[in-house]
């Protein structure tokens, strides 16, 4: 009997599979399809201080082996997340959920995290400093080590739960940002957010996305994600949640070998709503195939020797 359990900052997960923020709503849409308690946990839809509609449509463009999105953090705002979304989630999910938080100023991040900190359903924070789809914030914090450090510091001051900082791949050296977050007390980092990309419609000769640019995700970005997880694992001591193009149990193992303690699945959920369930089903067999008894043992395994 193989073990798929991992420990994420003191909370044991039955398996390392975590649907990524923005691809799983607040969970209950998927609870109609399968028992979402089978997941390690999931990261809920990026939440901001105030309600946001997001960007104009079209917000989605297909690519070779992936997709672009420019949703722009549509969410009901932190008050409604607490009053409406979390109670609905409680009815179908009895594990700790990961609270994904975004903002447009240091104060925004701190305000939203402080509001959510009292919620017993929340196990971890995932602070998104890397959304490529909003102007005047988001990515601006994730592409500058000093700003990333300041957000980390501000959030740590007002929270008592483990804080993961979600990093952008749209930087020259992601290890610099990761180290800056670790130095200010981040309990972990998650990476990678989407890569900034673009598609142009040949018929209209204009960008497909109304926002012109958007975040590229899907299997095409997996090698970039693996490389960055590998680099960050060497640079910091705090745990890493790895993500980017994960679609199968093999991908999960590969991400963990690069250095991830847990693994998020994003775009795959949008194509196959059962993607995470299927990965969890396949994980024990796949572990046996590669002679892995305990998944914890392989974290960072590619660095050995």
């Amino acid at each position: 009997m193989v073990s798929t359990k991992v420990n994420l900052c003191g909370i044991e997960l039955d398996n390392p599979i975590i649907p990524a923020s923005g691809t799983f709503g607040f969970g209950y849409e998927f609870a109609d399809l399968y028992d979402i308690n089978r997941l390690g946990t999931f990261s809920f839809k990026g939440t901001t201080r105030d309600e946001r509609f997001g960007n104009p449509t079209p917000r989605i463009a297909e690519c070779e082996s992936g997709m672009l999105n420019s949703v722009g953090l549509q969410n009901p705002g932190v008050e409604k997340v607490i009053s409406h979304e979390l109670p609905k989630l409680r009815e179908c999910f009895n594990k700790k959920v990961m609270a994904n938080v975004s903002g447009f100023s240091i104060e925004d991040y701190a305000y939203t995290c402080e509001k959510l900190n009292d919620q017993d359903q929340i196990g971890w924070f995932e602070v998104n400093i890397s959304c490529p789809n909003v102007h005047g914030g988001g990515l601006a914090f994730g592409t500058n080590a000093k700003n990333a450090a300041e957000v980390t510091k501000a959030v740590k001051k007002v929270t008592t739960k483990p804080v993961f900082i979600k990093l952008s791949p749209n930087v020259t050296d992601i290890t610099e940002i990761a180290k800056a977050c670790e130095a200010e007390g981040a309990d972990g980092v998650s990476l990678i957010n989407t890569l900034l990309g673009m598609r142009i419609d040949l018929k209209t000769k204009k960008p497909i996305l109304a926002n012109k640019m958007g975040g590229f995700s899907g299997p095409a970005i997996k090698p970039v994600a693996l490389r960055m997880v590998y680099q960050v694992y060497d640079a910091v001591k705090i745990p890493i949640i790895g993500m980017g193009g994960v679609e199968t149990a093999e991908d999960v193992i590969e991400m963990m070998l690069a250095g991830a303690t847990a693994v998020q699945v994003g775009a795959a959920n949008l194509v196959n709503p059962y993607a995470c369930r299927d990965i969890i089903n396949m994980l024990p067999k796949t572990m046996e195939k590669y002679k892995i008894n305990d998944l914890k043992d392989i974290i960072g395994g590619a660095h050995n020797g």
Binding site: T23, F30, M67, V71
Partner: protein, 242 residues
């Protein structure tokens, strides 16, 4: 919503660019006319959302226009091949809201979802009138299928090569008490100017997932934000912000 593997029973051209495909498999998730399915194609990352034209307990008929690589690939598929399909997406039309004389207005490839709706309205004892709008004669499809249901069908073509010359709004009858429509945005805007009654519009948008998870197809309505894929594609006239 259900996910399943569906067998292609038929796949044939109705016009130069419009095809009809009949899929065999579980149809239990279809609960209203005007819902859609989302089709996974070999080599394509995102699924293709296509509205349901008609269904029974064993088969689903979809009608699609070849507009890009994905639909071109679909058009080349043969009977006996299979497709991975999410079925029963979206809210669909609500025929209960119609009066005795509903008007059904379809533009081009927006026509198909009105077919099953028309059958439902007839079952309810209502007397629908159907307006089908095309650019030109060679693009016309499904006019006979609607006539065979025993309803009044008015065909319009922009160039006047068949039926009434002009747009669907040039063929509006005097006497109707509700409307249902699906088609391109310029047609919707023209209908919005001339329609005298309440009605339902079925919208199209580029989608990520098709089942409400990604917020890719959101729109603002008078009653808050809605997802075209999950809370739509059908919106009531009263709630739409143009």
């Amino acid at each position: 919503m259900t996910q399943g593997i569906y067998k292609i029973l038929y796949n044939f051209a109705l016009t130069d660019t419009v095809y009809s495909m009949v899929l065999e498999g579980n149809t239990s998730a279809l609960i209203a006319p005007g819902q859609f399915v989302n089709i996974k194609l070999e080599g394509k990352f995102l699924r293709r959302p296509i509205s349901v034209c008609d269904f029974n307990d064993k088969t689903i008929t979809i009608i699609y226009k070849v507009v890009g690589e994905g639909t071109a690939q679909m058009s080349k598929m043969k009977a006996g091949e299979t497709l991975d399909v999410l079925v029963g997406l979206g809210n669909g039309f609500n025929p209960e809201k119609a009066g005795e004389k509903p008007l059904l207005i379809g533009g081009g490839v927006g026509i198909p979802p009105l077919y099953n709706l028309c059958k439902e309205l007839l079952k309810m004892g209502k007397k629908p009138t159907v307006i089908l709008g095309f650019n030109t004669k060679s693009e016309i499809f499904y006019d006979k299928a609607f006539k065979e249901l025993g309803v009044d069908v008015i065909v319009t073509t922009v160039d006047g090569s068949q039926g009434v010359k002009g747009f669907v709004t040039d063929a509006f009858p005097e006497d109707y008490d509700y409307f249902f429509t699906c088609g391109p945005m310029p047609m919707f805007k023209a209908i919005e100017k001339v329609a005298k009654t309440s009605g339902q519009y079925s919208f199209e948008e580029r989608m990520g997932c098709g089942f409400g998870a990604c917020m890719g197809c959101s729109c603002k309505t008078k009653y808050g934000n809605k997802r075209i894929c999950k809370d739509g594609p059908v919106l009531y006239r009263e709630e739409i912000i143009w």
